[in-house]
Amino acid sequence: MAALLEVRDLRVEFPMRRSVLTALDGVSFDIAAGEVLGVVGESGAGKSMTGAAIIGLLEPPGRIAGGEIRLDGLRIDNLPYDQMRRIRGREIGTIFQDPLTTLDPLYTVGRQLMETIRTHLGISAAEARMRAIGWLERVGIPGAAQRVDSYPHEFSGGMRQRVVIALALCAEPRLVIADEPTTALDVSIQAQIIALLKQLTREKGTAVMLVTHDMGVIAETADRVAVMYAGRVAEIGPVREVVKQPKHPYTVGLMASIPPLDRRVERLAQIEGAMPRLSAIPPGCAFNPRCPHAFGRCRIERPELLDAGATRAACWLYDPRSERRAEAIRHA
């Protein structure tokens, strides 16, 4: 399957007064058309930053300092602002966590949808209105023909997030970046929104990058998962493998620390310590100070993504030439 989105060695830096913080360091992944790639990690791991870099909306002074981003073969990380603006919305739709900040409170939702549709598809106002109503129906808003003239504040949280989904999809983009789309929603509404997003993107063969810290949502929605740690991809692979048989020691710890719903455990597994700050990322593997399996090489040399069975993990335990091998964590 040819990749729709290719990210290669992406490096994002924040120049500070005295030093340069590296927020993303050598991030690489692909997303194929019709595929959902989940991106997980703890706060500050660089998940949202990756999304922002792809749509060209890094907050200054953040800048792309290296690597390439290609959409359908076209390099988009170095495009002029105007050209990138046309790609955002038309080719790449975005869904953010908080629907209230995405929607303009001063315009009716219909007007916002029509504006997006007309800007990118160049059709008449009347036709755009019909499409706007059609999209509201498709995302499950009852009485769409009337609600199209309502303002965002007249919708509940779940309904607003449906409007945001309609807004992200109405120009029929080929890639959707959904950054914590359900985090602000209650669990009963969350299920509705995830089901909707999945169904709509599957119908159109849209590629989705789903950024979330909720493994449950990923397990249910994604085809593949990238696990991020301290601005790097720690592990990437098919969702079932990463969730059920994680290979990277960080992923192993992360999965074990999720409280199980189906049983009570006396003591949850925990990873000691905390993720390092960007200003204090240790040399070698960023996870080495917290890793129960770290050995000499981990503290000196940074591991690249290596084949680890069904997934790829950035861990020296999977280097065939390492003195210590992955058998060590099989039973962890």
Binding site: D186, A191, M215, G216, E266, R267, L268, I271
Partner: protein
């Protein structure tokens, strides 16, 4: 675990209610002819927490769980009902200094609940000073160092300021502060919701260890059923200001009775990837300003009939059990057997 019936419960809530007046200003109401608007955040909640145990309240946003937490510690004055703390009525007068020493609260956001301009040692020592527990400077410093060690920090961390800590460490500081007055009862309002999952595990383990070591009683507020299962002895499920089901933790998960409890569990994403399809609960939580008549869950309930639409159910023991309390006509009448994971859409037909 002490037998709840034999001893006085640590905390008891009786028919607790809190109504907020959210009307527009009087003049605007006069012109628009609008009636007063009363938001019934909590509307008749009763429970008891035995000493040394944990009661959790779960529910979605707006169900009133945080309001209950605030009522229990006396941050709000109840509109109706009362709170008994160790047998004494709290709602009658302002809680005495001694009562306040014995209960403490931990909040959701460790970034907002610590004063950024105070050193950690002063933050932790504040309750000790306020209640006049330790007068001697050296003894106070030793106590603060003990507390820091107890929550897994270093005594040296006392010299630092809150911004030097991560979210999980800040929550540890909040816990140390809460423990500093030797409380017996802690109200924890979503203490791990702002934390990453690996840090959440650390905090939950710490809270369980502290309960075991110090014999603490917890009222734990959360929206996360998996978290609640790890920490609770009993669980109350709240919906629109009321408890719809109150049961021992394991019973609630193995045999949930109320249709809302079942729907909540259905809606949780499946990490085991058994291929089970999630059954979304149709519809949304109604507004607590104009709750539906009868059972508040009836517009979304697959089992609702005419009685449910007219008459509100009371929280009573479910059939064949003493332990589980359920507020549902369908369960009471034995109509709940056919509740398979049906979508509410089919129930409307």
């Amino acid at each position: 675990m002490p037998d709840a019936s034999a001893t006085v419960p640590m905390v008891e809530a009786e028919d607790l209610a809190k109504h907020f007046d959210v009307s527009r200003p009087w003049l605007q109401r006069l012109f628009s002819g609008e009636p007063r608007r009363i938001l019934r955040a909590v509307d008749g909640v009763s429970f008891a927490i035995a000493k040394g145990t944990t009661l959790s309240l779960v529910g979605e946003s707006g169900c009133g769980k945080s309001t209950v937490a605030r009522l229990v510690v006396g941050l709000y004055r109840p509109t109706r009902g009362r709170v008994l703390f160790d047998g004494q009525n709290l709602a009658k007068a302002r809680a005495s200094s001694e009562q306040r020493r014995r209960m403490q609260m931990i909040f959701q956001d460790p970034y907002a609940s610590l004063d950024p301009r105070w050193r950690v040692r002063d933050i932790i020592a504040e309750p000790i000073r306020a209640f006049g527990l330790i007068a001697d400077g050296a003894a106070l410093r030793a106590r603060v160092a003990d507390l820091l060690t107890q929550v897994g920090l270093s005594p040296l961390d006392g010299e630092k300021y809150p911004h030097e800590f991560s979210g999980g460490q800040r929550q540890r500081i909040s816990i140390a502060r809460a423990l500093s007055s030797n409380p017996e009862f802690l109200v924890c309002d979503e203490p791990t919701s702002a934390l990453d999952v690996s840090v959440q595990a650390q905090i939950l383990n710490l809270m369980k260890a502290l309960q075991r070591d110090l014999g603490l009683t917890y009222l734990f507020i959360s929206h996360n059923l998996a978290v609640v299962r790890q920490i609770s002895d009993r669980i109350g499920v709240m919906y629109l200001g009321r408890i719809v089901e109150l049961a021992p933790a394991e019973t609630l998960f193995t045999t949930p009775r109320h249709p809302y409890t079942r729907a909540l569990m259905e809606a949780i994403p499946d990490l085991e990837m058994t291929g089970r399809q999630r059954m979304p609960v149709g519809g949304e939580v109604p507004s607590p300003i104009s709750p539906p008549p009868g059972c508040p869950f009836h517009p979304r309930c697959p089992l609702a009939n005419d009685r449910c639409r007219a008459e509100g159910p009371a929280l009573v023991p479910a059939r064949g059990t003493e332990e589980t309390l359920v507020a549902c006509h369908a369960v009471e009448e034995g109509r709940d057997g056919r509740l398979s994971p049906a979508s509410p859409a089919t129930a409307e037909a």
